[in-house]
């Protein structure tokens, strides 16, 4: 967005704001459901990811940037998260013994 550019309407951002407010409320509903832990975690994490995407695309205005920047941010963030996820195997190795060392 260039300097002194007339911004577009607020309606879209209000909807995003209301959706982001609804997400923690839905997470509380899930928290008090009588379901098993992994399903609870999956439901809450899915909602959190939706909220994060809304925040990144609209509140951080990434949706209005060039596709190259969107790709850059997405690739590097996913790479960072994948790198950390790589540590899980070692964590479980520590937890349950050493299945990969044999």
């Amino acid at each position: 967005m260039s300097a002194a550019e007339k911004p577009s309407g607020l309606g879209k951002y209000l909807i995003v704001y209301l959706c982001m407010l609804a997400i923690p409320a839905l997470e509380v509903v899930i928290a008090y459901q009588n379901i098993d832990g992994p399903r609870k975690l999956l439901g809450m994490l899915s909602l959190a990811i939706v909220g994060a995407l809304l925040g990144i695309l609209f509140f951080m205005n990434l949706a209005r940037e060039r596709p190259r920047l969107i790709l850059f941010v997405a690739v590097f963030t996913l790479f960072a998260l994948a790198t950390i996820n790589y540590g899980w195997t070692d964590s479980f190795r520590l937890l349950v013994g050493a299945p990969f060392a044999k």
Binding site: A4, L10, Y13, V28, M44, F59, L95
Partner: protein, 207 residues
């Protein structure tokens, strides 16, 4: 100095164009945020591992804490919206409005910090410290205070940045781009909170 200014007289520009058509400071902020994603992801992953590896992980959060956390989420998400309005006003060269929205964001952030400290005080009152707690799982306190403390530290850092840049913008020292860069960081803090709430609090509500 713009690219056009550098290209006068038929010469090619002396500087490479920005790779993503955004100012260098904004690109630096995006890079910082990506690196901060790694910090939080590592912290939350370690927390998840500890929780998964500990069969008797405590579930100490009662409905009063959940209500408090929801209020904090409401305040932080609302502050993200007011920050967005501040950026829009700054981009439209409406300095008073931009400053006003930034002040509202700062006020919301201060309320969030106070509620967070109150939440911590409640936990300490229940006997939770870094290495001790009434439920016997010694790492619970360390994990809880680390994850929420990192978030609190970011909120405080964001508040300091907003105060400095907001006041500087009002005095004409900083531009709308600087407000936008601060806003990026503030929005990121809000996004992190969306993960902290379910993982740290809601998965550990008392039955």
């Amino acid at each position: 100095m713009s690219q056009a200014d550098l290209a006068v007289g038929g010469h090619t520009p002396a500087m490479e164009p920005s790779p993503f058509a955004i100012p260098a400071k904004k690109l630096a902020m995006w890079l910082f945020i990506i690196s901060d994603v790694m910090t939080f992801a590592a912290c939350l992953t370690a927390y998840g591992f500890l929780r998964n590896a500990t069969p008797d992980w405590p579930r100490p959060f009662h409905s009063s804490t959940v209500i408090s956390v929801m209020v904090m989420a409401f305040i932080l998400i609302s502050s993200s919206f007011t920050m967005l309005l501040g950026v829009r006003a700054a981009k439209a060269d409406d300095r008073p409005a931009a400053f006003r929205w930034t002040l509202i964001t700062i006020a919301a952030g201060i309320i969030f910090v106070l509620l967070h400290i109150r939440d911590w005080a409640g936990m300490v009152g229940e006997g939770v410290t870094l290495f001790k707690n009434p439920w016997g799982t010694s790492l619970f306190g360390a994990a809880y205070f680390s994850v929420t403390g990192l978030e609190l530290l970011h909120v405080i850092a964001g508040l300091i940045a907003l105060i400095i840049v907001g006041l500087g913008y009002q005095r004409g020292r900083y531009s709308s781009d600087d407000i936008e860069n601060c806003s990026l960081f503030w929005q990121f803090i809000n996004i992190v909170w969306m993960f902290v709430v379910p993982l740290v609090y809601l998965l550990n509500v008392a039955n």
